[in-house]
């Protein structure tokens, strides 16, 4: 243990004596240690860059692994390394960089202690050492943080803006809907019975003085069948009178309604298919049954069991 310590101390003295800071080694490899700022506020960080350069390709020297730099009043909070080959004065030059992020700990002076880097010449197999000097950094009072630089504030501001924007959109939509409701006229659904009643009344042409009322009955019969088809989805136009009544029975309609339908359609069939002619008064009387059916539909008096 003692021998090891003595060896390190001897090497340190030797290197201090042989190499100045950033000076090139005998073999042409150079070490340069720099910091991003010689003075830094307490609430900022400093970048320490160790740059090794040598002419030739990267494989000419093998850099032995080394620990993080020893620091005083600083804390290593991040590190990284990179290799590249550049051309300097027409010669290819290999560059290897080690970067450390240092966080000051307290006001006053801070130091990056000298570093010793061991490397091997891959050609000869011999080992050499490089060292950097002690780098001082002055830590001064922290600077005041701009409020806008705090992410949390940005998040709060963005959130508030989003809420306000959403509120505006909703308010605009509500206003628009209200405006549309005010503008649109109230849609009233006209019961289909009214349409059919109007059509039924229109069958009687006051200017028609013909004595035969059977065409009116025929039209009235078709009208009622259309109504039953539209209102109750009955096979009004394809089914015979008895089939239609059977459908209504099966549908659970009340018997009074079915009897009225049967009465009207049976009488209408009699007139339509027997070749009989009837006078207009008789036709009016018969169509009165159809009108009564439509009226009861209008009043909602047609019931069906579930």
């Amino acid at each position: 243990m003692l021998n090891k310590t003595l060896l390190i101390a001897a090497l340190f003295c030797l290197s201090s004596a042989l190499f100045a800071q950033d000076n090139p080694s005998e073999s042409g490899i150079r070490l340069k240690a720099t910091v991003s700022a010689a003075e830094t506020p307490l609430n900022r960080t400093v970048e320490l860059v160790l740059r090794l350069t040598w002419s030739g390709d990267l494989s000419r020297y093998e850099i032995s692994p080394f620990d993080d730099p020893l620091v005083t009043n600083l804390k290593v909070i991040g590190s990284g390394s990179s290799n590249r080959v550049a051309v300097e004065a027409g010669q290819p030059t290999a560059v290897r960089e080690y970067t450390y992020t240092l966080q000051p700990q307290s006001l006053g002076m801070a130091y990056v202690e000298p570093m010793i880097i061991r490397y091997t010449d891959t050609g000869s197999g011999e080992q050499y050492y490089l060292s950097s000097g002690r780098i001082p950094i002055k830590v001064v009072d922290p600077i005041r943080e701009s409020l806008l630089k705090r992410p949390i504030l940005w998040l709060i501001l963005l959130g508030a803006a989003a809420v306000i924007a959403a509120g505006l959109v909703v308010r605009r939509r509500l206003l628009k809907r209200k405006e549309m409701q005010n503008q649109e006229p109230a849609v009233t659904v006209r019961p289909i019975e009214e349409t059919y009643l109007e059509e039924l009344r229109g069958l009687f042409d006051p200017s028609d003085f013909s004595s035969d009322g059977s065409p009116i009955v025929e039209k009235g019969s078709r009208l009622l069948r259309r109504y039953l088809q539209e209102k109750y989805e009955a096979p009004g136009l394809e089914a015979t009178t008895s089939e239609l009544c059977e459908f209504l029975y099966a549908g659970g309609f009340d018997e009074l309604f079915i009897n009225k339908v049967r009465e009207f359609l049976t009488n209408a069939d009699l007139i339509k298919f027997s070749g009989r002619t009837i006078d207009r008064n008789e036709a009016v009387t018969l169509l009165g049954v159809a009108e009564a059916i439509l009226q009861s539909g209008l009043r909602g008096e047609i019931h069906r069991s579930a």
Binding site: P235, L237, E238, A239, T240, T241, S242, E243, D269, K272, F273, S274, G275, R276, T277
Partner: protein, 329 residues
């Protein structure tokens, strides 16, 4: 045109009085089968022969025999077999040794009601001979032509479940039957009653209540039943829809029907509807009459395509769709 419907109704009322008597006599023997009995009467009243299709044991023969007994008519039953000859039905000329002349021996076709049992078991020449008699209502034996008696009705039966060793009736010959009836099984209650009635020591029989003359008079009355042009158009619409379904909004049937019904269908549908109205004791035809008989008139006249057969769609189903689609007048 003004029709004196009161007079027609009165006449129909009078002439159709026997219907109830026949029905009650037939009901003494036959349980249920009202549909078949009614169709037999329709055939009888409108000169239309009937093809009955149904499995054995459904009282087809008994119904015809009972109807014949109730009408006091001559009934004959011929069991069609593969070795039957036309002469076995029509009759033949026989050489009389004593007189040295030929005399005519009339066959069983000379009757009022002829039951051709299992008509599809005899070859085409026998079927054709009978169908000719049905159409012409006369039979020629040797050099003599004989009119068949009035009324003359052929009721032919077919068994739908046996096809081996049969000679199916060609479409043209099936078309000569006015109605093709599909006879179904009786209900449970009816079967119970059949069992009780037919296992008694003395089975019931029908009494003759109508004469053939009354039937002939009723046939004339049937021709007088009023059929409105609206109904005639409805009939033609139904028949045309079997030929050109797409014109009636039945595009899906275009690919299913190979041949629609012939004009004979319109004639028979009109006649059968009149007879149906007559049985209802009504002097005019309504769409109800047409619809209730249309299936029996059309089911054997619509010839389906291979596509329809592949999809197992029956002619009956096609006709039903047509009837349910065509608007009633």
């Amino acid at each position: 045109m003004t029709v004196d419907i009161q007079a027609i109704n009165a006449k129909i009322e009078r002439e159709s009085a026997f219907v109830e008597k026949i029905t009650s006599q037939v009901s003494k023997v036959i349980v249920g089968q009202r549909y078949m009995i009614e169709r037999l009467l329709i055939g009888l009243l409108s000169d239309g022969h009937i093809l009955l299709e149904g499995v054995p044991g459904l009282a087809k023969t008994m119904a015809v025999k009972t109807l014949s007994a109730a009408i006091r008519t001559k009934f004959q039953r011929i069991q069609f077999t593969p070795d039957l000859l036309p002469a076995d039905i029509m009759g033949t000329t026989i050489y009389e040794q004593k007189t040295g002349t030929f005399s005519v021996k009339k066959g069983p076709v000379f009757c009022n009601l002829l039951l051709a049992d299992e008509i599809n078991r005899s070859p085409a020449k026998v079927q054709s001979a009978l169908l000719e008699a049905m159409q012409e209502r006369q039979v020629t034996i040797g050099d003599q032509t004989f009119r068949l008696p009035e009324p003359f009705l052929v009721l032919a039966t077919q068994n739908p479940i046996e096809q081996e060793g049969t000679y199916p009736l060609p479409e043209a010959q099936v078309d000569r039957f006015m109605l093709k009836l599909s006879i179904g099984y009786p209900s449970r209650e009816e079967e119970l009653e059949i069992m009780r009635r037919m296992t008694r020591l003395e089975t019931p029989t029908a009494e003759p209540v109508v004469t053939p003359e009354e039937i002939v008079a009723a046939k004339k009355a049937v021709h007088e039943v009023y059929i409105d042009p609206k109904i005639e158009n409805y009939i033609v619409d139904i028949v045309f829809a079997t030929r050109k379904p797409s014109q009636y909004g039945l595009n899906e049937l275009d690919e299913l029907i190979a041949y629609g019904a012939s004009p004979r269908a319109s004639i028979y549908l009109s006649m059968a509807s009149r007879a149906h109205a007559f049985l209802r004791r009504r002097g005019f035809v309504t769409p109800e009459d047409v619809r209730s008989i249309a299936l029996d008139v059309l089911r054997h006249r619509v010839i389906l395509t291979y596509e329809a057969e592949a999809e197992e769609i029956t002619a009956e189903e096609v006709v039903r769709r047509i009837i349910n689609k065509i608007e009633v007048p």
